[in-house]
Symmetry: C2
Subunit: 155 residues, 2 copies
């Protein structure tokens, strides 16, 4: 499987962040990193576990959670919390940035709008909060689900 240059780069960033923190990159952990660096579909823990197991069948869920925890601590993954379902993870862009969430198929796309630190300061000045991060999600129906809906209606 070929790996794109930016996936490769992202992977290296993750690895060195963990190494710098003093953790050992075991084969199982390496696979979690590799999947996260190469996925643009925001996998959840179950997805990651299943995929790691294809290569290392004895992998437990605890190991996946453990690896994600390490990545969170080092700022190498962005966790998208959903109480109604499993959390999703963005390993390609670990900084906070906007997402598009399809309320029908749960697909999640990245939105290319950079977060504005200026806004953090403005809000801080107004409210007294020391703002460190944001979460901006837009919820809607993705193009695919719109098509399906139309097909359903025209029947």
């Amino acid at each position: 499987m070929a790996m794109s240059p930016d996936t490769q780069e992202r992977l290296e960033e993750m690895r060195s962040a963990l190494v710098q923190r003093g953790v050992v990159i075991t084969p199982k952990r390496a696979k979690v990193l590799e999947i996260l660096a190469g996925s643009d579909d925001h996998p959840n823990v179950g997805d990651l576990h299943a995929e790691v197991q294809r290569w290392h069948p004895s992998t437990s869920l605890a190991t996946v959670y453990n690896t994600i925890e390490l990545l969170k601590e080092t700022g190498q993954v962005l966790e998208l919390e959903f109480s109604a379902s499993a959390n999703r993870y963005d390993g390609r862009r670990p900084d906070s940035h906007p997402h598009l969430v399809c309320v029908e198929c749960q697909r999640i796309d990245d939105l290319d709008v950079p977060e504005s630190k200026g806004m953090f300061e403005a809000i801080g000045a107004e409210t007294g909060y020391e703002v460190v991060r944001q979460r901006l999600d837009y919820y809607g129906i993705c193009p695919n689900c719109q098509k399906k809906r139309e097909a359903r209606l025209s029947r």
Copy 2:
């Protein structure tokens, strides 16, 4: 207990939305609505349950969840999902609007920035999504927790 005019108004909106939907406003449900209409601290289900029980001791958690579900369906409450802890509810402003979340004490404040429908359309035009709602949360340390932290450091 006196009720401010806008709490009263909010309460009426909730009640009529539910009545219109054909559900009965029982005393327990009425109390849930009253608490939501009058709280600016974004209570969670446990908070609501405890408060309702002060008036109707036999109230079960299921009833609180059931009432919230009805309010969600009628667009009368905004649910703030947190996977790491219980969800929080905003009954005063059921439309999606930005929040300030203190990562230390879990306090949640409203931010007075209206949501821009124009942005929904712009994103739709660019991505093909049909955007219907957004979630914008800023995470940081509230003024109170900042003070506590300073006090701790200067000791």
